[in-house]
């Protein structure tokens, strides 16, 4: 492990640990005081870009999401706000607990999946495709309402088997180059893969604006990038495998503040 986090972070980690006894038992790999957001691995310029809402390009998606929140959609003619009211109140802390267990289908769903279920059931609207601008905008707007709040995903015991599947996928070697996620993000974080510093794998800022993409994208897009990188066959968008993997990572990131919409290189 290369270097220790500064004292402030360490203290934050210890403070987080005090309230997170249950979650810590689920997170044996990266000790809480060693957990670092991808934010810390970025250049100062990128950090400033994330922190200044007037220059953070992710805020364009948030603004679009805000407009969609109040737009009539589907055969119902209902807006999101008709049921949920002011997102600043009703959506506060929501993104921080996703993926959640969706009892009707006995499986976990991510925030994008939840938005699409709401569209179908409550708005009589067609689901939005994964990575579509509208779905990313809504997810970014909802995520923004939890910015700075600690991640709380993984509370529900019914999620445990899915979290375990996600962990198994995280640790499974894949592709022609035979790498697991853990090979890089647990065992070699802080080191350089060509020009890129390998971060730990805490999905604290999704959907986020990636400079390489010149766009906001979801965590699933990030997963696909890594799988293609190790020459593995990526799963299709919306696959249960990606939701399980997100669940594992978000559970492991419990207590870390949500940064949506984050900037990443």
């Amino acid at each position: 492990m290369s270097g220790l986090p500064n004292r402030k972070l360490r203290n934050a980690g210890i403070a987080g640990a005090l309230g997170l006894g249950a979650a810590l038992a689920l997170a044996p790999e990266a000790l809480p005081q060693e957990r670092r957001s991808g934010f810390e691995f970025m250049s100062r310029e990128s950090q400033v870009l994330q922190q200044d809402d007037t220059s953070n390009p992710g805020m364009l998606w948030v603004a679009e999401g805000e407009a969609l929140w109040s737009a009539r959609t589907g055969a119902s003619g209902r807006t999101c706000a008709d049921c949920h009211g002011d997102a600043a109140v009703s959506m506060k802390g929501v993104a921080a607990r996703y993926p959640v267990y969706f009892a009707e289908q006995s499986r976990p769903i991510d925030l994008q999946g939840r938005i699409n279920i709401c569209r179908e059931v409550n708005q009589n609207a067609t689901p939005l495709p994964y990575e579509s601008r509208e779905l990313l905008a809504l997810a970014a707007f909802i995520g923004k309402q939890s910015r700075g709040m600690p991640i709380t995903a993984g509370d529900d015991q019914r999620l445990e088997p899915f979290r375990a599947l996600g962990q198994e996928l995280y640790e499974r070697r894949q592709g022609q180059l035979n790498f697991s996620c853990a090979n890089c993000h647990d065992d070699h974080w802080g080191r350089k893969l060509a020009s890129s510093v390998i971060p730990q794998s805490h999905p604290t800022g999704y959907p986020l604006y990636r400079l390489e993409w010149q766009s906001v994208g979801s965590l699933q897009r990030r997963f696909r990038n890594c799988m293609v990188g190790v020459r593995a066959e990526p799963y299709p968008f919306g696959s249960p495998e990606y939701v399980n993997l997100e669940l594992f990572l978000m559970t492991r990131a419990r207590g870390m503040p949500l940064e949506t919409p984050a900037i990443r290189p």
């Binding site: 499974r172 070697r173 894949q174 592709g175 022609q176 180059l177 035979n178 790498f179 090979n183 890089c184 065992d187 070699h188 080191r191 350089k192 893969l193 060509a194 020009s195 390998i198 799988m227 293609v228 020459r231 593995a232 066959e233 990526p234």
Partner: protein, 177 residues
């Protein structure tokens, strides 16, 4: 005691390709084989290439996979090519013109004096045989790989000729850092 390197079996994931080769072995009409081949090609997975057999002695493959020595200049080009050799994603080395060299793995300077050509060859072909936990990709093996992307199915990372070129080049890196 020399042990015979097992001849890699067809990839388990590529059901279509192996059914095509089964048909060929069974002597099914060529037209059927052609149809199966076409189906496999349209469906994506590439045809499994025959991998050459090799013999491991200790921690080395003493003999070139191709029977002849490779070309060091071609080997250097493969090593620095980020889509072929991929070496500099993880390794650094004496390549002053190459920016952005990785540091996940040892510097390649002096690798030619640390290892013999035969030892280098086995480390390229399948480093897992020496260290199952290694992150060094198996460059000339299809065994045990999971969910290989369509474009890469049935293919080793490098061909036998390319392996020999890289071995020939790495053997020239005798100056320690």
């Amino acid at each position: 005691m020399p042990k015979r390197g097992s001849r890699p079996s067809p990839p388990k994931s590529s059901g279509r390709a192996s059914s095509a080769s089964f048909a060929r072995r069974a002597g099914v009409l060529p037209v059927v084989v052609a149809a199966l081949t076409l189906a496999a090609a349209v469906a994506g997975p590439a045809h499994a290439q025959e991998l050459r057999p090799f013999t491991i002695v200790g921690d080395a493959i003493p003999e070139p996979l191709t029977g002849i020595k490779g070309d060091a200049a071609r080997g250097r080009a493969i090593v620095v090519d980020r889509r072929k050799g991929l070496c500099l994603l993880c390794h650094s080395g004496p390549f002053p013109e190459q920016r952005f060299q990785g540091d996940l793995a040892p510097d390649l300077r002096g690798v030619g004096s640390r290892w013999s050509e035969g030892q280098l060859r086995l480390r390229l072909v399948d480093s897992r045989r020496l260290n199952p936990a290694t992150i060094m990709p198996p460059y000339y093996s299809r065994e045990g790989l999971i969910r290989v992307g369509r474009a890469w199915q049935g293919k080793p990372v490098l061909s036998a000729e390319q392996i020999e070129d890289v071995v020939a080049f790495l053997a020239t890196l005798t100056e320690a850092p």
